[in-house]
């Protein structure tokens, strides 16, 4: 067994002490010397209204090169299947989500001949052999046209990252207007599991500023926005 790392208290005290000295203090402070700057929403907020979020989100997501389908719940299954077949996907990974279960999505996909597995019945390594991840989202930000994923035991990080295709199902109640709202909500809940904000397919412009999509993440992101 590896020996435990030396506790960091000693060296850490030295460094924080040095920081404190650098700031001209000798004793620890129990609160900041001044309150942190007030975040004035008239400067930070870009989206002020909750009306038309669905349209705004769809527009921005498309600008982010995501493929947006606005569908009614009953059309979701067939539209999703068509998208996945167009993208040449056969092996799919899904989170273990009550919402997706309610939509009966797995049956829809399987009856179309697709090999769909849920996260609770998979090993992480299997996701590397999947063609697509089909997920729900924690939130969707209209301002930036972004999907927000919160990793949990039921929804692994790999699902929206490892397969070449990501299909995300967004309900109207997932939509938030602005990043300001997203972070306000997250800080109220403590955000222990963290968040990943996704604003398009993985890309790079490293080689002579040429845009190439699909570097280490999905090369295409389909968004299925329920009406």
């Amino acid at each position: 067994m590896p020996t435990p790392l030396p506790t960091n208290t000693d060296s850490s005290l030295t460094l924080i002490d040095r920081v404190r000295r650098a700031l001209g203090r000798y004793e620890p402070i129990t609160a900041p010397t001044t309150p942190p700057p007030v975040i004035d929403e008239s400067i930070t907020r870009l989206v002020h209204s909750d009306i038309g979020l669905s349209e705004l989100f769809a527009k921005r997501a498309e600008e982010n090169k995501m493929i947006v389908h606005r569908v009614y719940p009953e059309e979701l299954g067939p539209t999703l299947v068509r998208f996945l077949i167009d993208q040449k996907c056969t092996r799919l990974a899904l989170p273990d989500s009550p919402f997706l279960n309610k939509l009966n999505l797995i049956d829809n996909l399987r009856s179309a001949g697709l090999d769909a597995k849920t996260w609770d019945r998979m090993m992480l390594d299997e996701v590397y052999d999947c063609d697509a991840g089909v997920t729900d989202v924690f939130a969707a930000v209209a301002e930036t046209g972004s999907l927000v994923i919160r990793p949990t035991a039921q929804h692994g990080r790999a699902l929206s990252l490892v397969p070449m295709i990501h299909a995300a199902i967004v309900q109207p109640r997932d939509l938030v207007a602005d990043l300001v709202d997203l972070f306000d909500n997250a800080s109220r809940e403590g955000n222990r599991n963290g968040l990943t904000i996704i604003s398009g397919p993985s890309k790079t412009s490293d080689i002579e500023m040429n845009l190439v999509t699909g570097v280490h993440g999905p090369c295409a992101v389909g968004v299925f926005l329920l009406q």
Binding site: P2, L5, N8, S11, S12, L15, I16, R18, V19, A22, R25, P28, I29, A31, P32, T34, P36, D40, I43, T44, L46, R60, N64, W119, M122, T144, P151, T152, A153, G156, R157, L161, L179, V180, L182, F183, A186, S187, N191, R192, G194, T196, I197, I198, S199, G200, P201, S202, K203, S205, D206, I207, E208, M209, N210, V212, G214, V215, H216, G217
Partner: protein
Amino acid sequence: MANAYENQTLDENTTRFLSEAAESHFDFHSVSTQAAGDERLKKAVNNATMRQYTGRQLQLLELPDADKLRTLAGNIKQHALENLDYYLELLRKNVEKNGGQVHFSTTGEDAKRIVMKIAMENRCRSIIKSKSMVSEEVNLAHALEDAGLDVVETDLGEFIVQVSHDKPSHIVAPIIHKDRASIAKVFSEYFHSDYNDDPQALTAQARLHLREKFRRADLGMTGGNFLVAETGQVCVVENEGNARQSMTTPRILISMVGIEKVVPRLSDLSVMLKLLARSATGQMMTIYTSIFGGTRTAGEKDGPEQFHLILVDNGRTEILASEYRETLRCIRCGACLNACPVYRKIGGHSYGNVYSGPIGALITPLFEGLHDYKDLPQASSLCGACYEACPVKINIPEHLVRMRRDIVRHKFNGRLERLVYRLWGWGLRFPFLYKWIGIAQKFDLRRRAHGSGWIRSLPKISAGWTQVRDMPAPAKRTFHQVWKDRPQDSQNPN
């Protein structure tokens, strides 16, 4: 793996760069002169920086009041710096609450030792590393390679840098100086494949290679764009997805971050994120923004089993104590590089260190010592484009002038320069003498112009001036003469 790249031929520019860097005294003049004469380099850098620069300007128009948002962002960072001891303590408490471990490292050597220790104790063989300026600053990848660990840079640009044994030359676009032909050549040698210079094909080749690395890696490394004190989390932005891979598959995750990256609250990110990508690449948001920290929670099948946050000082506390404290606000967006007329002409390698452009001219001397990098603060026209571009409003030109003062104060400027200024100062005390020296100088300069109005070359110590541009010949009459003969009524406007 230690010296896997030893037998490969080095990039010509890199050879030059490395040999320059090997000398104890960094020779800015010769490196930058050579770079400024390299048309291919200049074109590549100009093209990329102009695109990012115009992208930034278009994106800032989307904001209700970009100027006020920049002020707010600057204030948030400044507040965090003024209370850094408090917020570091809070951050540590919260990281530990989330099951992570915090390590403080005073020097780059400490930081590397901590990484190595974690890797050895957990018997990690394969390390995937995403882009991080602080790891570049402490030269982490080389140290890990030398220790026999299999470490791979997974950002496409950094991967290309690693396999071609080059150095990054831009904070956000590391291979801005390379063209596709040189990348294709390196790839065909590295992968033993046919030459193909299509960016799509090159990217696909790297993707395939790195995907297997991701799948098997047991240690992932990231940097951090922000540290959120109130939640004990790290925020990383990226476009490719490799940083996300680092925090997904490997059982151990290390984030190495400079202590100045702290912000107090999660809600501060809404301010910072609205500026960072816009300022860096002219994007509204980067493709991925991950906020993470701590270990995987009960029942999770991916994410790290161990999370280590290494906080790096490496000279930052000294800057914090100095009148350059404000420079620690920097969020490494690269906007000042793209805006800088000097950077566009000489590229990033000319700055002789990991941080280039205006911010590099400022912080490299602070990190590495003013004596060895005393030319950098002079490599600026003080036009202020960097200040205008900075999303956290660091007054770079003002600090550069302050640093020039330090150079004089420490007598780091040349002996000759000091002598000239002393003589000048002495001459100013004797108006009669000053006047006649001026007149003599005027005659001499006008003679050198040969009646053309332009002086094409000057001798000895003034030669540098006319090496790259002509100097206008002085006017026939000196200012003193003109002043003396001015119409008398102009003395009294009424």
